[in-house]
Amino acid sequence: MAADMHAHSELHAQSLEHDAHAHHGHHDDHEHHESFVSKYIFSMDHKMISRQFLITAVIMAVVAMVMSIIFRLQLAWPGEKFAFINAVMGDKWGPDGVLDPNAYMALVTIHGTIMVFMVLTGGLSGTFSNLLIPYQIGARDMASGFMNMLSYWFFFLSSATMTISLFIEDGAASGGWTVYPPLSALEKAMPGSGLGMTLWLVSMSFFIVSSLLGGLNYIITILNMRTKGMKMTRLPLTIWAFFVTAILGVLSFPVLFSCALLLIFDRSFGTSFYLSDIYIGGEALSQSGGSPILFEHLFWFLGHPEVYIIILPALGLTSEVISVNARKPIFGYRAMITSILAIGFLSFIVWGHHMYVTGMNPFLGSVFTFTTLLIAIPSAVKAFNYITTLWKGNIQFTPGMLFAIALVSTFITGGVTGIILADSALDINIHDTYFVVAHFHIVMGVSAIFGMLAGVYHWFPKLFLRHMNKNLGYLHFWLTFISAYGVFFPMHFLGLAGVPRRYYTNMEFPLFHNLQDINVLITVFAILGALAQIIFLFNFFYSIFRGTKSSQNPYGANTLEWTTPMANIHGNWPGALPEVHRWAYDYSKPGEEADFIPQTVPLRDGEEDGGGHH
């Protein structure tokens, strides 16, 4: 009992001390001494964790991009010898500079996995939810700094495991990023389904842990730690997007975990959840009664919300960047929130559109066609609202703004082809062709990368207290935008000509011989796009150390992160937390001198808070 009391009072004393510290800290920021390890490695500070996520994601993105260039070379000039391929892949996977077919499969698989999970889920949500949630809601940090730290380190483990899997003898997982069994379950089906697939599953398990720790933290922080006056209806749309994204992740990633767990059982312990009636390698397997369709259902129950987990944060960042730089309130704030919620809800009841021709009951195909096409409505609302936000604006073309506008363009262009694919009857003939590849790369790949780049350019002053170089940013943007369309627009036509995805070469079919020039065009644009990213990488790392110092509120923005001092201090605000009096979008309000009114400025007498009804 006494010991209990003691522990209790100690805890109490600790929390008092913590409080005192938080108040104390602002008198002298340098008082807080930290070791290298607690500051840069096992940091619990949301800003440092955000930077850790970003830099890890940038490295992983470079890996995935180099992979894509290698398989694009093979697709454009099959069988041609490239010193580059030999240099990167070595004599085993790229003998004489010609890519090995198994290595090709591994490259497309790991390219997809890294881009979908490490870059556009971990990288995008991890970087910007961490950076902006405490900043924009007016909190000192995340609800649990410790969980947040764990979230990053599990992400790091996951990325490291995936990278290590590239270097093993039999090659990395190579059954496609969707890893459908039995292909991914049986080593006899392909070499990559051995240790490579095991490491893939280990990596994904780490990733799911990371995503859940992060997601729970984001939700709790947004719900409980908003500063005084920050009602849900005053939140910037970034936070709404991160909030719904985190909920989607928390509800769907556990399903992926069970999906992966059953696959681990089938692979290692002889169960038959997904396996039945298989004869392979001269042997009839004993497993019986399972169904690969079950795997597909479980996988896509995560897999479809996952694409919204990727695109929603990008749209959230875009909403903020477009509004700030158009110097206008975001048009239809409440409609934007409703759209995010509608997209979030619908994303859970559309997964079957990945499975129209898998042998799923055709009646289900009708249901999923209906629900899937409904998603186009909130998506259309968002696109039109962005366009209207630009109308009569006073647009400041920062590199971030350029990427945000480009996102709206690719979101439209990629979105409309979704209408074709969602239609079960039309999907029959274009399922698993390059039409699908073109569609999802534009609508979620390119769009989400553009959103991420918009975020990096725009919030670079909050990430590293400096600006990225503007002119290099412009050059990077225009080259990237042109090559993105150059790569993915022609790709639709390959799909309409019936070219299946994941073919090592199309030359085995006379049917596809006259399409080779399209593949060459795509690869040329892909190389141009990759070269443009070198400009970005240079600018990024150069600016971290040598970029020009930013002022406190360089864009004249309203949200709370720009009220923090230009130094990375614990607790974000040296004094008391800011108080919020208005929504985030009072730009160019009539009768005001300045073209922005920060959220901390009290409403005048009789002034109405924005976003409501007039």
Binding site: P362, N429, H467, L511, Y587, H614
Partner: protein, 328 residues
């Protein structure tokens, strides 16, 4: 040689580095933030936005007109004609939406570039506009949904039992066809019976299977007759993709899947249509299935009824009647 290239690359990077430094430092000396966006930047980028719109129009339409003749030829199946019609209908809608909304976006970006002497309009909300762009897409989508589901149900409704059944069997990396014979019944099969010669694992005790005909180099189907394909797989998931017939169904180990259609254009006729005397229909695998996925195929021939019968006569049944009699 390699070192020269590396050396040049490093020099180039250093040159850019120094150039960036010089520009930033000279701006600093003048007391301006070199990375602050100026009116000049705004004007330049807004014009580039306009030019990009023109580029997008030209590039997308160039793709369309340059590539459209290389897409799949007219549908060789009956339901495929309807699919093509619906695809074109939807394509017209999405091309319009794609061009109009993208143009709107780029025109806004071009027209409303920032000028220091201007202020933006305060326009936060408008119910009528928002109803308009919720309502119009909703109506268009309901038409698309209705037509799509109707065609889907018509295409996928179960085939009549009199329709000829043909099995397509997949394994890494080949297809095998099995015809059901005069009784139109496929004999039972079991994966545990698979042995050297018995690739499909047929059960010889099932009489229904005795007249089955197994053919592994060609899939021959008669024109103008409905065929009900049954799909099975031996090892991993494959997908039977008939691009010319607008048909596709996955082949899943442990279960049977079906797709039926009626071919309406013979190989000979399609050779004339495409102007390619060597044209052949093909069935290809469209689900990642291993290293040689890119070369898993079987030739399809669509012929007249007479050609079909002649073809079948050249092949023997699984257990011909005379052989069965001998066994007895």
């Amino acid at each position: 040689m390699k070192f020269v290239i590396y050396f040049i690359l490093i020099l180039a990077a250093a040159a850019i580095w120094q150039l960036v430094r010089v520009v930033e430092l000279s701006a600093k000396l003048k007391g301006v933030d070199p990375n602050k966006v100026t009116d000049k930047d705004n004007k330049l980028n807004s014009r580039l936005m306009f030019l990009f719109m023109i580029f997008l129009w030209i590039f997308s339409l160039w793709c369309l007109f340059n590539y459209k003749d290389r897409l799949l030829p007219v549908s060789a199946s009956e339901h495929g004609i309807d699919i093509d019609w619906l695809l074109n209908f939807n394509m017209i809608i999405i091309w319009i939406v794609f061009l109009v909304t993208n143009s709107l976006l780029f025109i806004m970006a071009w027209k409303y570039y920032g000028r220091s002497d201007r202020k933006a309009a305060y326009f936060a909300h408008n119910n009528k506009l928002e109803m308009l762009w919720t309502g119009v897409p909703a109506i268009v989508l309901f038409v698309i949904i209705f037509m799509g589901i109707r065609l889907w149900n018509r295409t996928l409704e179960p085939a009549d039992s009199k329709v000829r059944i043909v099995e397509v069997y997949a394994k890494q990396f080949s297809f095998t066809a099995r015809y059901s014979g005069d009784d139109n019944k496929l004999g039972k099969a079991n994966y545990r019976l698979i042995m050297d010669a018995n690739v499909l694992g047929l059960d010889s005790s099932d009489v229904a299977g005795h007249d089955d005909v197994i053919i592994s180099d060609t899939l021959f189907i008669p024109v103008n007759e409905e065929v009900n394909f049954r799909f099975r797989s031996q090892d991993v998931i494959h997908s039977a993709y008939f691009p010319h017939f607008r048909a596709q169904m996955n082949m899943v180990p442990g279960m049977e899947t079906f797709f039926h259609f009626k071919p309406v254009v013979t190989t000979e006729e399609m050779r004339k249509i495409t102007g390619n005397p060597e044209f052949d229909y093909v069935l290809l695998c469209n689900k990642i299935c291993g290293a040689a996925h890119y070369n898993m195929q079987i030739k399809i021939v669509v012929g007249t009824k007479e050609q079909y019968e002649a073809f079948m006569n050249r092949h023997t049944e699984f257990l011909p009647a005379e052989k069965t009699a001998q066994v007895k």
